[in-house]
């Protein structure tokens, strides 16, 4: 278990990494790939199954048209060639998560091939070549009972829920990605991040990584610098967070370097990633590819998308994330770095929606990356999980711009919104947060501050104008922050300086 590791920077002095990713995406269709069972997440175990997805004798699959369209749209968004003739194949293996004894997948005739995805990282662009995109079905979920860790070792038996079995699953396979060097772990992460953005834009999947909608098998290998051949790769399975994708590459690079330094050979194998330690461990070597005994699925006829269908889908593609970012950056007048902050904070959609709701880009960015990011961070939730809508943020920014509230009062209004007290204007009303105008109440507070602090008032009168801050503070205190500091200062000056 305790692998020897080489320091990451040292790895790069001797070795060149090559990475590759196979990413599985559960499509967001209403029904399964080959039957009408629902795909709703979180249903009671085994309540979304039927003879087809249970593999009962005599049942026959029928392809979900929406899943095929989604796969083609993913292929088009990745610049793939869409096959004019594509077939399903049976991938035979014995494992209880597949009740049929085979997974219906695609083998030598995938729907989409030869695409690419450009990944931006620190101002550089890395082109990731896409080898293929194919459609298959997800497996059931095993629950291992009796083992102390829930992992297989020591499990007495397993319990299987087939609700997930047969949900459409798209597999997106990259070609090997050489040349990233020290950036290899980050390129892997940036690739999955960008792919996720594209899938979101296409609306083909919920892409909730924590629910397993998107999971990557991450291949890593090392070759001595200058070597013409690539090294032996390992495949870290089912990595299901962006951070883990990066960490798994980093760990494998450090581990493999130690193996190679010792004059040993890297074993070609699957490995498991452990979130807690950031390490990988050897999985059991799986049956070799030839042992899957792939053969064409006799129960399904070929999919042959014609040009008209493909072009119709192409024409209906949404604006893709890279184009959208470039357009918004231009519209909002932001620098690349400012835009990158928004994107990295996962706030692009929120900022964009807030601008659409009437806020200035500067205000929208300030709220989401400032106060709201702080609140999300304090509560340990994502920005999108905060109980405030872009429309409400725009309303709040509007109240500040109109002078109805100042920044501090706006934050109090936000408290109310987050507490479910209603929209910002309603909260300002119900909590009495509006700033005081040049009212009698404020005049009284200003005069009380002067009378209550005669020493300070005298200093101001005698020319020490900066002492006025203490009086402003006193007024703000008696008005519980509801006065506008600039107005208060002006009123004090009228009484103490200009005369």
């Amino acid at each position: 278990m305790s692998d020897t590791l080489v320091d990451f920077d040292e790895v790069l002095t001797r070795y060149e990494p090559v990475i590759g990713l196979e990413t599985h995406v559960e499509l967001g269709t209403a029904s399964k790939m080959f039957c009408g069972c629902s795909t709703t997440f979180g249903a009671e175990p085994n309540t979304q199954t039927c003879p087809v997805c249970l593999g009962l004798p005599g049942s026959l699959p029928v392809v979900n048209a929406e899943a095929i369209e989604s796969t083609i749209r993913i292929g088009l968004a990745l610049g793939c060639r869409i096959a004019s003739w594509s077939r399903f194949a049976r991938k035979n293996y014995f494992y209880p998560d597949i009740p049929k004894g085979f997974q219906t997948s695609q083998y030598d005739e995938p729907l989409c091939t030869a695409g690419h995805l450009d990944v931006e990282l620190d101002g550089e662009t890395y082109r990731v070549e896409i080898e293929r995109v194919h459609i298959e079905e997800d497996t059931g979920k095993n629950l291992h009972v009796g083992g102390s860790t829930g992992r297989i070792h020591g499990a007495d038996h397993s319990l299987v829920d087939y609700n997930r079995a047969g949900i459409p699953l798209v597999e997106i396979v990259t070609r090997p990605i050489p040349g990233a060097g020290a950036k290899a772990p980050e390129v892997a992460r940036a690739y999955v991040t960008e792919l996720r953005e594209i899938l979101l834009a296409l609306g083909v999947s919920e892409v909730r990584m924590e629910q397993g909608n998107l999971r990557s098998d991450v291949n890593t290998s090392l070759a001595p610098i200058g070597s013409l051949d690539w090294g032996t790769r390992t495949e870290t399975k089912n990595v299901n967070s962006l951070r883990s994708v990066e960490r798994s590459v980093r760990f494998e690079m450090r581990r493999q370097a130690a193996v190679l330094d010792a004059g040993e050979r890297v074993v070609q194998e699957t490995r498991h990633f452990h979130e807690d330690t950031g390490s990988t461990s050897s999985g059991r070597s799986k049956e070799e590819a030839t042992d899957y005994r792939y053969f064409p699925e006799p129960d399904l006829v070929p999919i042959a998308p014609d040009e008209e269908w493909i072009e119709k889908l192409r024409a209906a593609l949404p604006e893709l994330p890279a184009a959208r970012r470039a357009r918004l950056r231009e519209e909002w007048g932001l620098s690349d770095t400012e835009m990158a902050w928004i994107v990295n904070a996962g706030a692009l959609g929120l900022v964009s929606d807030t601008v659409a709701a009437g806020a200035t880009p500067a205000d929208a960015r300030k709220w989401w990356l400032g106060e709201l990011a702080r609140r999300a961070n304090d509560s340990g939730v994502e920005l999108t999980e905060l109980a405030v809508t872009p429309e409400q943020v725009a309303e709040l920014a509007g109240l500040v711009a109109a002078g109805t509230v100042n920044d501090q009062l706006a934050r109090q209004a936000l408290d109310g919104v987050l507490a479910g007290e209603g929209d910002p204007a309603a909260v300002v009303e119900s909590r009495g947060l509006a700033v005081m105008g040049d009212s009698d109440e404020l005049v009284a507070a200003v005069e009380a501050a002067i009378e209550g602090n005669p020493d300070v008032a005298e200093k101001v009168r005698s020319g020490k104008v900066q002492a006025i801050g203490a009086l402003v503070g006193a007024v703000m205190k008696t008005t519980r922050g509801k006065a506008d500091a600039a107005t208060v200062k002006r009123m004090l000056e009228e009484r103490l300086v200009s005369g």
């Binding site: 269709t29 209403a30 029904s31 009408g36 069972c37 009671e44 175990p45 085994n46 309540t47 979304q48 199954t49 039927c50 003879p51 249970l54 029928v62 392809v63 979900n64 048209a65 929406e66 899943a67 095929i68 003739w85 077939r87 035979n92 014995f94 494992y95 209880p96 998560d97 979920k141 095993n142 629950l143 291992h144 009972v145 009796g146 992992r151 297989i152 499990a155 007495d156 038996h157 397993s158 319990l159 299987v160 829920d161 087939y162 399975k237 498991h272 999985g283 059991r284 799986k286 030839t290 042992d291 005994r293 064409p296 006799p298 399904l300 006829v301 070929p302 999919i303 042959a304 998308p305």
Partner: protein, 105 residues
């Protein structure tokens, strides 16, 4: 799939491997017996290779149809008690299966 062995050359090891993949318990005597029988089957099938198909387009399916699809509409599933009635064993509303020695799902 590995290419079929030349005539009569299916080895005991290959049969044992196939039996393992199919999770079939095959005795030593049966390995010998099946190796011979399977070789005969392969030989019989191999006769297809004698046909002159130079002018014949590959057939991908017995039925010349494409794009048979259904709309993406969810339909009711089977009741769970019916589903689990077909399971060799059930526990906690799930199929209970023996300890898994393969890799983790």
């Amino acid at each position: 799939m590995s290419t079929p062995s030349p005539k009569g050359r299916l080895t005991r090891d290959e049969v044992a491997h196939l039996a393992h993949l199919s999770r079939l318990a095959v005795s030593d005597e049966e390995l010998e017996l099946f190796a011979g029988q399977l070789a005969a089957v392969l030989d019989a099938v191999a006769q297809v290779g004698k046909a002159d198909v130079a002018d014949v387009a590959p057939t991908t399916h017995a039925v010349p149809m494409t794009n048979v699809m259904r709309p993406d509409v969810a339909r009711p599933s089977l009741p769970r008690d019916v589903v689990l009635a077909g399971a060799p064993a059930a526990e906690d509303d799930r199929f209970r299966v023996p300890r898994i020695l393969g890799e983790e799902a």
